[in-house]
C-alpha cells in the first residue's frame, strides 16, 4: 500500500478509495496458492501529493493568548500549557458533539495535563488502580495529542491538516509539545527502567529527538 503508516485504507472519508483497497485485499483471499505479495496499483505520490497541497495552506485556526515556542522557564511553560489546554477545550468539546466520538481514551485533556504538570514538577501523580506511571504517561501523551487534533479541526471553516503538518505544529509550536519534551528528559533521568524506556522510545517521535 502506498499510504502512510496508520492509514492502510488510504484517505479518511473517501469511501470510494477505501472500497477499492478493500476489494483488492479480498481478491488475495481467492488466490490459488500462496503466500502472495501484490502491490496496490496506485502510485504513492498520487495521494500524497493531494495531502501536501493542503498542508501548504494549513494554519492552526486557534490563536493562543501567548506563545510557548521559546519558553524555557518551567513555571512559565506550565502556565502557558494550562492556558493552551483551557483555550482548546471548548473546541475539543464542540468536535466531540459534532462527530459524536473522540479518539481520546483514558485521559481527557485536563487529567492528562495534570499528570504531566505533576510529573514535571517532581510531584507524585495520582494514578488509577493497577496503572503504572510509565503506561499512564504514554497513554496520556497520545490522548493529549488526540485532543489537540480534534480541537483544531472543530473550528468552523478549518480543514484537517495532514499528519506531517499537524505533527510539526504540535511538537514545535505548542506548549504541550514542549512540556512533553520536558517529560521525556525527566523519564530518561529516572532509575526506573520502564520510565527510561518510555522516554527513549514512546513519548515523542523520532523526528523531534535531538539525541
Amino acid at each position: 500500500m502506498p499510504f502512510e503508516l496508520g492509514r492502510p485504507l488510504g484517505i479518511p472519508n473517501d469511501p470510494v478509495l477505501q472500497r477499492r483497497i478493500l476489494l483488492a485485499a479480498l481478491d488475495l483471499l481467492v488466490a490459488a496458492e500462496g503466500p502472495v505479495l501484490v502491490d496496490f496499483p496506485d502510485e504513492a505520490t498520487q495521494h500524497a501529493g493531494e495531502a501536501r497541497r493542503e498542508a501548504v495552506v494549513w494554519a492552526c485556526p486557534v490563536n493562543f493568548a501567548s506563545s510557548a515556542a521559546d519558553e524555557t522557564d518551567l513555571d512559565k511553560l506550565v502556565s502557558a500549557f494550562k492556558r493552551e489546554v483551557a483555550e482548546l477545550r471548548p473546541w475539543y468539546d464542540r468536535g466531540f458533539q459534532q462527530r459524536g466520538r473522540t479518539a481520546v481514551g483514558d485521559f481527557d485533556p485536563r487529567s492528562a495535563s495534570e499528570l504531566f504538570i505533576d510529573f514535571a514538577r517532581g510531584h507524585t501523580p495520582k494514578l488509577v488502580e493497577n496503572q503504572s506511571l510509565s503506561v499512564a504517561l504514554r497513554l496520556a501523551a497520545h490522548d493529549l495529542k488526540c485532543s489537540y487534533f480534534e480541537a483544531v479541526i472543530a473550528k468552523p471553516g478549518s480543514s484537517a491538516p495532514d499528519s506531517i503538518t499537524f505533527n510539526r505544529w504540535f511538537w514545535q509550536e505548542t506548549a504541550a509539545g514542549k512540556i512533553l519534551k520536558v517529560i521525556r528528559e525527566k523519564c530518561l533521568a529516572e532509575t526506573d527502567k520502564s520510565l527510561r524506556m518510555i522516554g527513549t522510545l514512546l513519548l515523542i517521535p523520532m523526528s523531534e529527538k535531538n539525541d
Partner: protein, 134 residues
Amino acid sequence: MRSHIANLSCPTFSTQPWTVGSDLQARRVAIISTAGLHRRGDRPFDGMTGDYRIIPGNIAAGDLVMTHLSTNFDRTGFQQDWNLVFPLDRLKELAAEGIIGSVAEFHYSFMGATDPGEMASPPPKSVSFGNIPK
C-alpha cells in the same frame, strides 16, 4: 517497506497453511488489525507480546480507541474516519451488496510490529475478552 516484507523469512508449517476456500460471496469476513485498536475500557496495549483484543461486530465508532505504542504511527486519520483502519462500514456495504457472504460477529486486534510467532500464542494466555456485550 515492500522490500522489507519481501525479504522476511517465511515460516514453514507441518500442515497445509494455504487453503483455497469458497468464493467471496460465500465467505464470512473478519477484520484482523495490527493498529493497536480495542474497545474503550478494554486493556490498553502495553508491549509487542502477541496479546490481542476481541472487538464485537456491533461496536460503535465512538467505542473504538487506539493504543498503538509507536509515536510514529499516525492516529489523525483514524480520528477523522475509523474506516481508515477498521473498515467495518465498508465490509457491511459489501455484504449488503452480496459481494461477500457476511461480516463476522467478532474482529481481532493486535499491536503492530509484533513477532508473528508471538501472535500464535493460544488463548487464554493472550486473549482479552473484556466485557463483550451480549
